[in-house]
Symmetry: C2
Subunit: 266 residues, 2 copies
Amino acid sequence: MPTSTQNSPEAVPADAGASAAFENTAPAFSPLYQQIKTLILRSLQAGEWKPGDMIPSEFDLAARFRVSQGTVRKAIDALATDNLLVRRQGKGTFVATHAEQHIQYRFLRLLPDTGSLEEQGPAERRIVECRRLRAPAEVARQLGLRTGDAVLQVKRVLAFSGAPAILEELWLPGGPFKGLTIEALSDDKGPMYALFETQFGVRMVRAVEKIKAVSADEDTAALLGVAPGYPLLSVERLAFTYNDEPMELRRGFYRTDARHYRNELS
Amino acid sequence: MPTSTQNSPEAVPADAGASAAFENTAPAFSPLYQQIKTLILRSLQAGEWKPGDMIPSEFDLAARFRVSQGTVRKAIDALATDNLLVRRQGKGTFVATHAEQHIQYRFLRLLPDTGSLEEQGPAERRIVECRRLRAPAEVARQLGLRTGDAVLQVKRVLAFSGAPAILEELWLPGGPFKGLTIEALSDDKGPMYALFETQFGVRMVRAVEKIKAVSADEDTAALLGVAPGYPLLSVERLAFTYNDEPMELRRGFYRTDARHYRNELS
DNA sequence: CAGTGGTCTAGACCACGAG
DNA sequence: TCGTGGTCTAGACCACTGG
C-alpha cells in the first residue's frame, strides 16, 4: 500500500494496519519520504527521542512505517541536512543537540581576525540583568505572543581574555521558560541553548539574523568598554524550535575591532 | 568494473574501456558517486557545457561513465546542492548561471527593512572608477597572486530609487579579465557576475564574507550621502570559481539605515 | 562477531514539460 | 506521445564501531 500511487499527504499510518481512504481529489502530491520525514519530525517534537538519543535503525523505522529502508533513508537524509539528526556510521542516527557538541555557540558567527577559536579561549559570561516583564508590542509580535504577555528579559556581556566583545539582550516567552532564574544562568557552564534543552526541553533549530551598523549609545559603550558613538554591529536574531515556532529574540551588539562576522555564501 | 570494491579514487575511465590497475594499498576510499561528481566537475571547468546549457540526461551520463543511473543521480544531487547544476523536472539538468536567473545579485544579502525586493525596484549603478594597477600586497595575497601582478580595480555606487546604499570597490586578477573596460561595465545591464560569465567565461561559485561595523570616512560619506563618522557595514567578500580558485575581492560599504543584512542560520 | 549506516544496482512506475 | 527528472523497492555488498 505504501507502493500506492495515490499517496495523499499524511496518509501513511504510523503503526496500525493499512487502510488509508483513497482521495479521489488529490491535488497535492507529496512523496512518501516527505511524509515519513514529517512523521519522524512529529516524534522529535513529541519528545519520543530526546536530544543526544539514538533513534531506531533505518530498518526498524522502515518496518514501523511499512516502507522500504531506502525511503526512510531519504527522510533521514533530509532531517540530517536540516541539522535535526546526526548520522554516525557504524553507530546509529542521533538527535542533534547543542550540548556535548564541541562547537560551542553553534549560531555565533563572530570570529577573531587573527588566530583560531581555540587560542581565543572560552568566553567569559556576565549576566547584567534578568527579569520578568510584560512583552512590549514589537517583542510580542516577533515571538508570536500578545502584547503584555509575560516574557523573560536577560542581558549579558561576553568577553574574551578579559576584553568585552558582545553585549546582548534576550527575550524569552514566559510560558516555556517558567522557572528560569538568574542563578541558573550564572551558574551554568556551556552554551545557553544547551541549558534550554536540558532544563526546559526547548531545542533551537534554526535562526534568522538581521544585521546593521550602529553607533554605541552611552550605556552600551560603557558595558563594552568603548567610547560613545563607536561603530558596532547590531545583530538581531530570531530563533525557532520545531515547526518554525519562534522561541527567542536576541539583540546583540558586537565589537568588531579585533573580530568579524563571518558568512559563507553559495 | 565500476562495481568493483577496490575503488581507487579517480580510477573510473571517462569513456575508454575498463582496466584500472588495482592498488594493493588503497587507504583512501572514495565512493563511486564522488568520483563521478569529480568527473562532471571537470567537464564543467573545461567548458564542455556552458552556463545555461543542458547537460546530458542521467541515463546518457550513466552509460558514458559505465555506472548505474542511480549513481549518476547522487553525483548530480551533490552538484545541485552546491548550486553548480540546476535540475528541472521534465526538462533536464542545466549548468547554473548568474544570468537569466531572476534573482538578481545572488550573493547580495542586503534587504529593505520594510517592503519587498520588487517594490524596491532595480538598483541604479554608477561606476566611479575603473583602472589597471599593480596589486597591493594584501590584495595579491587574497587573490593568490604575487604582489605587483596586474589587477583591475573597479569602484562603484549602487542606489535604490535615487538613494545611494552601497559603495563598493572590486579587485579582479588582470589575466582572466583582460580587456574589461569601464565602458563595458557602464553599458551593461544585469548582474556583474553575469557579464563575467558571458564575456570572460568566469563563473563565481561561492564566496566568503567578513563583516564589520565601521565609521564612514570623508570620501565614503560623500559618495553615500551621509555625514562623516556615520556607521556603515563593511563587507569584505572573496569570491571563488571552480576549484576554490579566488577570482574577486570586493569591499563594500553598506548603508543600513533603511536596509539590513539578512542571514539564515541552521 | 553482530549491528549500524553507506554505496550500488536494476527495474518499475509516476510527474512534468513540450511538441 | 515522448523524454526528462523524481520516487520507490528489494537485495547485495562494503565500511565503520564496539563488544
